[in-house]
């Protein structure tokens, strides 16, 4: 493995400043790694020329001693972020060939901070999925394998391409989006750090919408410090997004490594779900003792509405999606399949353009918003959502952060769980409540399963308290000393 691709973002940043290597050299190493990672199908589009051009600009600034925070950092972008002049598909056939004439706010912020674009990563179609199986451009394989078992595994989803790329050292870091766990669950499956910020912390402008009240962009990185550095560049108020929070971000990196002594860590009793594997429970207990050893106190808390969270999510998210995806009608951009009448053109286009999971969710969403069903489904779900948020509010009166497993299992093989959407939806059981409440959550790799696959722990914080999440996350990270590497490493020497 190339020494350069082994570095964390923070290490690379410092090395660039010390002129140990140039941004061009770093980008070239990653461009090679991206090529080597092709068997994973993590990238839908590689943009090596762009990465090099950006790296050269970074080198010019570095030479003048005027480095920007992310100068020379090669990153991968989930193909849900619109990137000016670079095809953006959302993993769907319906957007094939769509080249946005604008740049999303979050990616624009990253480029303004000096980051270099390696390419666009694969994802579940319109970010709907937990396995990266629903992409119209083929599934992503995890760089991990169960030792002694060569069956390919899913990287998790929907930000599976980004997670696989970071884990396989084919990107120094990546960005994803998280609507119900789409950053944290693949981070857990791939043994990397994934941070979902508070709803409103990062602008949604220019991100292809799945469920507008839940979608939030966040970083996927090698370690917690890198997540803090990335978030710093991504975050900020955007007047073009009415739901973006008009507040200044604190210094996130400063929170990393701060002592957790005296902190109260909430352990929600309702997260001990039926059928949860023993090793997940054991990992959770280890996490609790690590934090106790570091001086924190564990307190039992109650989040009684947890058991309604999945059902609530699978009403609200499809409802919003059914409306958000109405614009893909073949009239103005993307795929058009002609028909005799306007309605026929719609039917042909949307029938051919959307995959089965997207169609399923559009149908669910349309149903729960329909006259006669709205009150029983959508309205009730909104009420439960309010109660879920209230659960967290009350819990945070007694604790500073909450610790839970990220997902109820390690990665599964491609083909497993595929025929049962409900089993697939269960993947999100620990992550979904956080989106419904709009809170920040991080997944930190904490150990290996019995099968030798990564498992993550999730830290949840109060709204806009990402600093606390990073602080507790880094304490878990230091104690866990997770150093296992995937079997497939793209960034090779």
């Amino acid at each position: 493995m190339s020494a350069l691709t082994a570095l964390t973002l923070a290490q690379a940043r410092d090395g660039l400043k010390r002129k140990d290597f140039t941004a061009r050299e770093l980008s070239l190493a990653y461009i090679k790694a991206v090529e080597a990672a092709r068997p994973l199908n993590a990238f839908l589009k590689e943009t090596p020329e762009r990465a090099l051009a950006m790296a050269e600009e970074s080198d010019a600034r570095l030479a003048k001693g005027r480095a920007l925070p992310l100068d020379g950092v090669p990153i991968a972008v989930k193909d849900l972020f619109c990137t000016e002049g670079v095809e953006t598909t959302a993993g769907s056939k319906i957007l094939k060939g769509f080249v946005p004439p604008y740049e999303s706010t979050v990616t624009a912020n990253l480029w303004r901070a000096g980051a270099c674009m390696l390419g666009k990563t694969n994802l579940d179609e319109f970010a709907m999925g937990s396995s990266n199986i629903t992409s119209a451009y083929g599934h992503v394989e995890s760089p991990w394998r169960r030792p002694g078992d060569n069956r390919p595994l899913v990287p998790g989803g929907s930000s599976g391409g980004s997670a696989a790329a970071v884990a396989a050292r084919a990107a120094l870091s990546a960005i994803g989006t998280d609507t119900g766990g789409s950053i944290r669950q693949p981070a857990s499956f791939c043994g990397i750090v994934g941070l979902k910020p508070t709803y409103g912390r990062c602008s949604r402008w220019g991100i292809v919408a799945f469920a507008s009240s839940l979608d939030q962009a966040g970083p996927m990185t090698r370690d917690v410090r890198d997540a803090a550095i990335m978030l710093q560049a991504m975050a900020g108020h955007d007047p073009r997004d009415s739901t973006s929070a008009d507040m200044k971000a604190p210094d996130f990196e400063q929170a990393v490594g701060q002592s957790v002594k005296g902190l109260k860590i909430g352990i929600p009793k309702e997260y001990r779900i039926d059928g949860m594997p023993k090793e997940i429970e054991a990992l959770w207990q280890r996490g609790i003792s690590w934090l106790k050893d570091a001086g924190a106190t564990a307190v039992e808390i109650s989040l009684p509405m947890t058991r309604y969270a999945l059902a609530t999510y699978y009403i609200i998210a499809p409802a919003e999606a059914s409306s958000n995806l109405a614009r893909y009608d073949g009239v103005r951009f993307g795929l058009r399949v002609p028909g005799e009448t306007l309605d026929e053109m719609y039917e042909n286009t949307r029938g051919a353009g959307f995959g089965a999971e997207v169609r399923r969710r559009i149908l669910i969403g349309t149903y729960v918003l329909s006259a006669g069903y709205y009150d029983a489904y959508y309205l009730k779900a909104q009420k439960v959502r309010t109660l879920i948020a209230r659960d967290f509010d009350q819990a945070f009166q007694a604790c500073d952060a909450i610790l839970t497993p990220t997902a109820p299992s390690a990665a599964f093989a491609i083909g497993e769980k595929m025929d049962d959407p409900i089993a697939m939806y269960l993947n999100d059981v620990f992550t979904v409540p956080v989106n419904l409440a709009g809170l920040p959550g991080i997944s930190v790799p904490a150990g290996l399963s019995g099968e030798g696959l990564p498992l993550g722990l999730q830290v949840i914080g109060r709204a806009f308290d990402e600093a606390m999440v990073l602080r507790v996350g880094s304490a878990i990270e230091s104690a866990a000393k997770f150093e296992a590497k995937p079997q497939f490493m793209a960034g090779k020497a």
């Binding site: 972020f81 619109c82 953006t88 959302a90 957007l95 769509f98 946005p100 004439p101 604008y102 999303s104 949604r204 402008w205 220019g206 991100i207 292809v208 919408a209 469920a211 507008s212 009240s213 007047p239 073009r240 997004d241 009415s242 739901t243 409802a319 919003e320 059914s322 409306s323 995806l325 109405a326 614009r327 009608d329 009239v331 103005r332 951009f333 306007l342 309605d343 719609y346 349309t366 918003l369 329909s370 006259a371 709205y374 959508y378």
Partner: protein, 482 residues
């Protein structure tokens, strides 16, 4: 008002939904321009065209316009309102939903008073006013088999103003529409231009036996003039009465008004079978208004038609009818007040409502492009007051003003139209006329007093109308009796 049917009297029950384009340079949720008549698809942002990842941001000015309109309609301003998505597929609706307000509109209940021709006041309730986006335009006449879409209008801010079903006749509906239009134009929140589609109207019409249960209503969509609204309601009411009296029943349906034939007919059923699946737009936070800001807008409202009419009656001693006519349009009222300034208000009112409006009506112009400026009309009245012009001469001068756009004084000077007030000059003219009319004089002296008018006319003719009428009358009588 009732309509007589074969089975007796019927009462018409009408509620109107007015769609008024908000006067604003930019659209409701994007910065794109709203100028009417630009080439197709030149005023479209990626937000209006619903490109992936684009988000709406509310235009503060449009909110201000809606609040002002609500205040002008004497309505409750809701300090918290919510934008919802109304979902349906159509080629000129790029997002597949229209952002509108459903359960929590920005403006609640209000009322306005109509000025009916017989002078009686008539109060009509306003149910609500909400903000929403307009759709684009489908152009079906550009290609033999395809439809073109122009998105210039997509996203333009509309106010939907819904009345209570308080309207009882086509005439009242017309008066209501005119009154709302007048208020919005006073406020500058909608230009009221019905030809350009800035103001459109849906009419909900039902009929019932007086005092009976409400009948089933039909909605007539997109009627675009006051006259058509009245025609459509009248036609629709009579149609419904006909159906009911034949023993039929009214189907609740959406109908179109065919202006050429003067009739309504049902829309294709497919166009109305929508389940709009309204839900709060997650891209927009609830709209929360500051009470102090609303009060500031209230304090800054211009004088509105009702107040202006009352003031005209009180201060200028105009009849309620004339005051109502002058206060109907802000520009008319402003014009009148310039003319009336330190002049006889009744004379000013007559000249504006009779002479000027007569000319404007004939030429199809509005007061904004009147050939006679208010100041010039005022000066014409001054020339009457100081005796320079008789009423009759003034009309000639006015006609010349309309013709040439010149002011009264220069026309008087150029044409030598100054009134003759010299008694000697008038007497000379009288002598000349009487000398030729011995027979008529004899008849007059024999008791035919009506002939006085004839003599006046002859002398006026001889002086080209310039003789001061009062002096002429007096001198002529003296001569004839002497």
């Amino acid at each position: 008002m009732t309509i007589k049917g074969k089975s007796g009297d019927w009462e018409v029950v009408v509620g109107l939904e007015i769609h008024a384009h908000v006067t604003s340079k930019a659209k409701l949720f994007s910065g794109a321009s709203t100028t009417f008549g630009a080439p197709p698809n030149t005023q479209v942002s990626t937000v209006d065209a619903a490109f992936p990842g684009m988000l709406p941001v509310i235009n503060r000015f449009c909110v201000e316009q809606a609040v002002k309109s609500g205040l002008g309609l004497n309505a409750q301003i809701n300090l918290t309102s919510v934008f919802d998505r109304k979902n349906y597929f159509y080629a000129d609706l790029p997002a597949g939903y229209q952002i509108s307000q459903y359960s929590r509109p920005i403006v609640g209940k209000g009322k306005i008073v109509l000025d009916m021709p017989d002078g009686s006041p008539r109060e009509i309730g306003i149910t609500r006013l909400h903000l929403e986006q307009d759709a684009g335009k489908s152009l079906h006449d550009q290609h033999p088999s395809q439809t073109y879409v122009d998105l210039n209008r997509a996203g333009v801010a509309l106010m939907e103003i819904v009345s209570e079903p308080d309207i009882r006749s086509a005439e009242e509906a017309g008066a209501y529409l005119k009154k709302v239009r007048s208020i919005l134009r006073y406020l500058g929140t909608c230009d009221g231009n019905m030809e350009e589609g800035s103001l459109r109207c849906d009419c909900n019409v039902s009929v019932r036996k007086p005092g009976g249960k409400l009948g089933t209503r039909c909605e007539i969509k997109n009627v675009n003039s006051v006259r058509f609204v009245m025609q459509a309601i009248d036609y629709e009411a009579r149609r419904q009465i006909g159906v009911l009296e034949e023993g039929g029943k009214i189907d609740q349906e959406t109908r179109l008004f065919d202006a050429a034939k003067g009739e309504t007919r049902p829309m294709r059923s497919k166009e109305e079978s929508h389940d709009y699946r309204y839900f709060p737009d997650p891209d927009l936070l609830p709209l929360v208004l500051d009470k102090a800001w609303v009060e500031k807008l209230r304090a800054g409202l211009p004088e509105l038609p009702d107040a202006k009419k009352a003031r005209f009656v009180k201060d200028y001693k105009l009849s309620p009818y004339d005051a109502g006519v002058l206060a109907g349009e802000r520009e008319d009222a402003e014009y009148f007040e310039i003319v009336a300034k330190s002049r006889d208000p009744k004379l000013a009112s007559n000249w504006v409502t009779v002479e000027l409006f007569g000319v404007l009506n004939k030429s199809g112009k509005t007061i904004a492009d009147s050939p006679v400026k208010a100041q010039d009309l005022g000066e014409l009245i001054d020339l009457i007051a100081d005796g320079t012009l008789s009423g009759r001469l003034a009309k000639d001068v006015f006609a010349a003003m309309v013709e040439t756009g010149k002011d009264a004084k220069s026309i008087v000077a150029a044409k030598g139209l100054k009134q003759v007030t010299d008694a000697g000059e008038i007497e000379q003219a009288i002598y000349a006329v009487l000398a030729k009319e011995p027979a008529a004089i004899a008849k007059y002296r024999a008791g035919n007093a009506k002939l006085l008018g004839y003599f006046v006319g002859q002398v006026m003719k001889a002086t080209q109308g310039k003789a001061n009428p009062a002096m002429l009358n007096e001198l002529l009588k003296k001569k004839l009796s002497g």
